[in-house]
């Protein structure tokens, strides 16, 4: 009877239900994050516990041209890839929202790049970008556009473009499907009302579609930016950060320094220095693009 009495208490019961989720978060999220941040302030190496060295890792990284290049690369990669993912994703979503034959089938196909494991698609791109066996080079040669194979991953700028293309290919379905879901929540009668009000196709897009889609665009693009900023698998499979560190992102550099390089403390410091940028992106979308006044119910 007594135990039942304790369990009847709403607060006790609530805590009890919270416990598994809280435990999972603490063990698998908070602990590794805290450990990572702490490691960044030590000179830990693989096989040797570090001692507290304060900001020494960060001071070193500040003067490290490779780290600086990786920050630039990360921003460049994220910015260009996100712009293209948004543009292509929105375009695809608008297309799929029209009355197409085999609509369900086409939508399923669009999702394909998203469901293939990243490493697999990265290996496929590795072959597409191969210096000798690239299908792109082969095709362009056949069409007579080029006379020697393209060195996709062998020199800095082509490698940057190639990795961005692969990332966009992989990221577009997520954006497209989310935006498509958003488009389908817009009542068709709004477009009809706008058509009667005299809006052209472009004006309907500009005055109805875009504003009504903007909350979903904000959420989707925040996620897309976060995913891109922290991208690792694709780069690691395609270029390992090369050539001459031209495609090294902060995530790949952090891994390279920490695990193969053994400098756990320094790697952790690189990873930790991504946090402010990610927080900034989240805060930007939270404050800048949060729910508009018109979305809130009730009276003022």
């Amino acid at each position: 009877m007594k135990a039942a009495g304790v369990l009847d208490n709403r607060n006790v019961l609530g805590l009890l239900f919270l416990l598994p989720a809280a435990a999972l978060l603490l063990v698998f999220l908070t602990y590794p994050l805290g450990l990572g941040v702490w490691l960044g302030f030590t000179d830990a190496k693989i096989g040797r516990d570090g001692i507290w060295i304060g900001l020494e890792n960060y001071e070193f990284l500040w003067g490290d041209p490779v780290f600086r290049l990786s920050v630039f690369n990360t921003f460049f990669y994220t910015l260009i890839a996100s712009v293209f993912k948004f543009g292509l994703g929105l375009w695809l979503a608008l297309l799929l929202n029209e009355h197409l034959p085999f609509k369900g089938f086409i939508r399923a196909i669009v999702l394909l790049p998203f469901i293939v494991p990243t490493v697999l698609s990265a290996i496929a791109f590795w072959w597409i970008y191969d210096t000798q066996f690239s299908i792109v080079s082969w095709l362009l040669t056949r069409m007579g556009w080029i006379h020697s194979n393209i060195n996709f991953l062998g020199s800095p700028n082509p490698a940057r473009v190639s990795t961005i293309v692969a990332n966009v290919w992989r990221g577009v379905p997520f954006v497209a499907i989310c935006l498509l879901a958003g488009l389908q929540t817009i009542a068709p009668s709004l477009y009809e009302a706008a058509a009667i009000d005299g809006a052209t196709g472009w004006q309907r897009f500009r005055h109805i579609t875009l504003p009504l889609l903007s909350p979903i665009i904000a959420v989707v693009m925040t996620f897309s930016v976060l995913f891109t900023f922290t991208d690792f698998q694709l780069i690691w499979v395609l270029t390992r950060g090369g050539p001459i560190n031209a495609t090294h992102l902060m995530a790949t550099l952090s891994y390279q320094r920490a695990i193969p390089g053994g400098a756990l403390g320094e790697g952790a410091a690189i990873a930790t220095s991504m946090i402010p940028f990610l927080l900034a992106a989240i805060l930007f979308s939270y404050f800048g693009l949060q729910r508009r006044k018109w979305q809130q119910g009730g009276r003022d």
Partner: protein, 351 residues
Amino acid sequence: MASVTLSGIRKSFGATPVLHGVDVQIDDGEFVVLVGPSGCGKSTLLRMIAGLEETLDGEIRIGDRVVNRVPPKARDIAMVFQNYALYPHMTVRANMAFSMRLAGRAAAEIDARVNDAARILGLDDYLDRFPRQLSGGQRQRVAMGRAIVRDPQVFLFDEPLSNLDAKLRVQMRTEIRALHQRLRTTSIYVTHDQIEAMTMADKIVVMNAGRVEQIGAPLVLYDDPANLFVAGFIGSPAMNFLPGRLAEGGAVVLDNGGRIGVASTAAKPGQAVTVGVRPESLEIAADGLLAEIVVVEPTGADTQIYCTLAGRDVNVVSRERHGFAPGQGIRLRVAPHKALLFDADSGARIR
């Protein structure tokens, strides 16, 4: 303002025909209600007039202009949608101003017309609110305001009151009607509610299964329906129908042998007919036909008596107060000119 002429309008969605040749003439300044059960094609017809559905077969004229291939925005019409279709991200003011803004009108003119419409509809205090912050009735008014500011040739209403509660519906009915009396803009109004049709229309178009059953003023349809469908659809409580056979001497013999005297008619003796009698045309009289009372419903102003006569449900509306009880017998009579005859097979009226 303009007249609207529909001639030979046909429409199919895929292999399913929904309109089978509709002809309607709507005069300048008239308030016409398209009424019919759901699926009769009335909304499709309205959307074709608006240009939201293609018109491939037949001809739609607004004024003297054939508009079959004219896009909605160039038809000079305004439409009020069932779900209002207000732009949720725009204030009431911006909603009403949208069409004029697109047309590139001067800000001063836009302001003046929006304020004018807001005053007419009592929306002055709500101009800076978003649709979310308005009640159903207010949203309905904004939707009408958006139509009014454009000062169009024709107003189109697509079941505009069906999302409102019963009380508000009655109130908005009167408001729309008053608005029409003030603006005198040709209006086409679609509803499935025959009371709305009766109370609002100058002219009712009764539709059923893609065809026009009858066109006429409300009371003409009530008193002089062209067929069984119109007779049964218009009027609440509905008209009573009793099957029988026309006998010599101007009377219909019912299934149970009872006789109802009818006015002179084109029907031949021996022909199978249906007699239609409005509930208020049935009088309680000692020399009438015997019916059995099932339920008595006093509403205060009058009393509805449900009974069975010759195996049929019959509804009587009496202005007097009676002490009837269920199971009791009652004798009903109808004046010959109040008994309407319909062909039992085709349902067409026999005059």
